[in-house]
């Protein structure tokens, strides 16, 4: 693993060269007016482009096509952000959540079946939340009933991001209704082409429809698609996802610092409506410096988490700290961007598909930041995890359902 300063500089030069040659010109304009099919085709093509360059799954183990040291990953994500490369939006769950679950808890057959397929463009969706199981995820009601060689699933999933395009689903379902709620859940890999499955888009606050409802009526899942032991699904999800939360943040933190924040500063260097430049206004300077400092802290926090994760020394609430801090810092940064961008920002009616959480359509970006503070465990849930697992504070009394 070469991560000396010289090696990193050489790697950076290599990534820069690659970005200049491969980041599609003017993709933003095309993606701002793109329909669904164009979006999917563009995402798939970009994924293969990155894969050919060796940059699609740097965080995977070497035997599966990754193995890049964390310090190099940081450089890669910095350069992709600085060159305004499209983000892997469609494949996000595939390369992160699905892969980490398979690597940590999947069987050899499951890994061999799906990891190469993900590299070929297999798309995954997460089927966790339900209408009555949001923050209280363990209260989920979708059932999986053992029948012969498989399980029969009935229920409803909600907030399944990207379900309309997904080939496979990471599914949590109740296999023992009599057990305490965290002891009766199993973890499945579900083929989205299964009969009995219906997907309907839900329009979100930003006006987009990548969230979906999934209706499950007698969907059959073969037993070999169970991940981990029956009724241990909650434990599998906990073990695989909190660590993963940190890894995804490495990229997002560099995006925020090297794309979002830089554009914000550049915007402040332009002429201000009343004359002069915003960047010369001490009030604006103060806020910019504060945000930049916080982003520097976030970046260091993410790298630290990845390194501790690799060394096996990460604390039980470290991933929650990073998720909470990123979500709220993104929100604060976008709020400020909306403020300094003034009325013209409100005329940006669409953000380009395939862009980051900070696309430059600041009003929509700010609205979209709640997609970070609510899903994946709300900020309130993260604070409870930090308080209880990180600090050892007493749990709240459990109210019987």
């Amino acid at each position: 693993m070469n991560t000396s300063t010289e090696d990193l500089a050489e790697f950076r030069a290599e990534v820069r060269r690659w970005c200049r040659e491969h980041v599609p010109a003017d993709w933003r304009r095309a993606q701002t007016v793109a329909g669904d099919a164009e979006f999917v085709a563009f995402q798939q093509a970009w994924f293969q482009e990155l894969r050919t360059g060796g940059y699609a799954v740097p965080h995977w183990p070497a035997e599966w096509g990754g193995g890049m040291p964390a310090a190099q990953q940081v450089v890669l994500y910095q350069e992709l952000a600085a060159h305004d490369a499209p983000r892997l939006v469609l494949g996000f769950v595939s390369i992160h959540h699905a892969a980490s679950t398979l690597l940590a808890a999947g069987t050899d057959e499951q890994r061999a079946r799906h990891l190469p397929a993900i590299l070929d463009g297999e798309i995954w969706v997460q089927g966790f939340s339900e209408p009555e199981a949001g923050s209280d995820l363990a209260g989920l009601r979708t059932t999986a009933r053992r029948e012969g060689d498989g399980f029969v699933v009935d229920g409803q999933k909600l907030w399944a991001s990207g379900a309309a395009h997904a080939d496979w689903c990471l599914l949590l379902a109740r296999t023992d209704p009599a057990a305490p709620k965290r002891r009766g859940i199993s973890y499945f890999l579900m083929d989205m082409r299964s009969p009995g499955l219906d997907v309907r888009p839900v329009r979100n606050a930003a006006g987009e429809s990548h969230f979906c409802e999934i209706f499950l009526n007698g969907v059959v899942i073969p037993a070999e698609n169970l991940v981990g032991p029956v009724n241990q699904g909650w434990q599998v999800a906990q073990a695989t996802l909190s660590a993963e939360r940190g890894m995804t943040m490495l990229e997002l933190a560099e995006r925020l610092g090297n794309a979002g924040f830089r554009w914000l500063v550049e915007a402040c260097r332009g002429p201000a409506p009343g004359g002069g430049r915003l960047v010369d206004d001490p009030r604006v300077q103060d806020r910019l410096a504060e945000l930049e400092t916080e982003i520097a802290g976030l970046r260091a926090l993410c790298l630290g988490l990845v390194e501790r994760h690799e060394a096996g020394t990460a604390g039980p609430a470290d991933a929650s700290v990073v998720k909470l801090y990123y979500s709220e810092l993104l929100q604060r940064t976008m709020d400020f961007a909306v403020e300094v961008a003034g009325l013209p920002a409100h005329t940006e009616l669409r953000k380009p598909a395939s862009s980051g959480w900070e696309s430059g359509a600041w009003v929509l970006d700010f609205i979209g930041s709640w997609e970070w503070t609510i899903p994946g465990g709300t900020s309130e849930i993260q604070r409870t995890i930090i308080g209880e697992r990180g600090l050892g504070l007493p749990r709240e009394p459990v109210v019987p359902a």
Partner: protein, 397 residues
């Protein structure tokens, strides 16, 4: 020395083995410091004012000479090790002259041109025989407070006839207890130098400046035409303006180390209290309002720790760009420390507001730390100056 870190410095850590060794070294240093300070810090005298940590204990620990070269009987370590001690002193909210002598005094001397006088003083500081204070700008105004002119009008600067010094500096850390004062001054050509005086020299007055935070000792140093011999006017070893800036960065970062330590202590005290104090039939820490406030304190401290580590690494390795990391650390950590100590007072409820409860000691120390060596807004203004024009390569930092 009993708790010396040996010769390894952060700057020399290049292999994973070095990094592990250094980490282990810091852990040892931290444990010894924490143990020693727990036994000695926090005591108050008859007047209820904090009793400073016994100087002989500091001298015996080897901490006073951490950054003093080995050939001068120091430990030959770096600011990375000093930062560990500062952090522990902050955790204990200890009253001690460590910052004035071992951090600012040694830091100033090490920026000077080597010479017999300087080396002798470094060795004496390491041994605990001489205590120092450095009179440098302590607030947002970084104007150099002292001026040097030839003792005999018409003499060239630095000529054999000695020099005459004028000026005044407020809020000089550990001035009242110092055996010698290092004044940051401008020579007649406007070049920064360091002048060594003694508090009882004619024309030198040191007056204690009581502040709300009783754990710190501050003094005003007034010099009115004091005459010093030529051997007491010392030149900086490299670019003098840059050297002063580095000294100010060191001071700001030292205070940030202290503030992170005290914030950690406040979070731990609050978590302990919230786990045992019961209201409405259950520990208050089980209520979300309290739990989430503690989580926020934890997040601020986690972020602050990262920013501080970056600052310490930059200063310990003499990074020419250290100012950015220092200003980030100082502005973030010192704001966070006030916030954390304030929340600690709130979450301790009525007992938190009592003198006896002791939270006020930390809140006052955090407030003074936030103001010393550049308020957060001043450090942010320094950071923001970089935004005015596009950088050549904003990604390489």
């Amino acid at each position: 020395m009993s708790a010396g870190p040996g010769t390894a410095g952060a700057a020399g850590a290049s292999t994973p083995q070095d990094v592990d060794d250094l980490r282990e070294l810091h852990r040892e240093l931290r444990d010894v410091a924490r143990d020693m300070l727990r036994k000695t810090a926090g005591r108050t005298g008859d007047d209820e004012a904090p009793v400073p940590v016994d100087w002989s204990l500091l001298a015996g620990s080897g901490w006073l000479g951490l950054e003093v070269p080995e050939e001068l009987d120091g430990a030959g370590a770096t600011f990375a090790e000093v930062a560990v001690v500062l952090h522990e002193i902050g955790r204990a909210a200890a009253s001690s002259g460590y910052l004035g002598s071992a951090v600012l005094g040694v830091g100033a001397l090490r920026l000077l041109e080597p010479g017999a006088g300087r080396d002798e003083l470094l060795a004496a500081v390491a041994a605990g025989e001489q205590r120092l204070a450095v009179a440098l700008p302590a607030g947002d105004d970084v104007t150099i407070p002292f001026h040097v002119r030839p003792a005999t009008p018409g003499d060239a600067p630095g000529a054999g006839g000695g020099a005459r010094v004028d000026g005044t500096a407020g809020f000089v850390l550990d001035a009242a207890e110092a055996d010698q004062l290092l004044l940051v001054a401008l020579d007649p050509t406007g070049v920064p130098v360091v002048v060594r005086v003694r508090p009882d020299d004619p024309g030198v007055t040191v007056t204690g400046q009581p502040v709300v935070d009783e754990t710190r000792s501050l003094g005003a140093v007034t010099v009115d035409g004091a005459v010093v011999d030529a051997g007491s006017v010392w030149q900086f070893g490299t670019d003098p303006q840059e050297s002063v800036r580095r000294l100010l960065d060191r001071a700001a970062l030292a205070v940030a180390c202290d503030c992170l330590g005290l914030a950690e202590a406040m979070l731990e005290a609050t978590v302990d209290y919230a786990g045992t104090r019961r209201q409405f039939g259950r520990p208050i820490g089980s209520f979300q309002a309290v739990k989430h406030a503690c989580a926020d304190m934890f997040v601020r401290i986690s972020v602050g720790r990262e920013l501080l580590a970056a600052g310490v690494a930059a200063v310990a390795s003499d990074d020419p760009q250290a100012g950015v990391a220092v200003s980030r650390a100082k502005s973030y950590v010192c704001v966070a420390a006030v916030d954390v100590a304030g929340r600690a007072m709130q979450l301790h409820g009525g007992i938190g507001y009592t003198w006896e409860g002791g939270v006020h000691v930390y809140l006052k120390r955090a407030l003074l730390g936030r103001a010393l060596f550049g308020a957060p807004a001043a450090h942010r203004a320094r950071l923001a100056a970089r935004f005015a024009e596009p950088a050549d390569d904003p990604l390489t930092e």
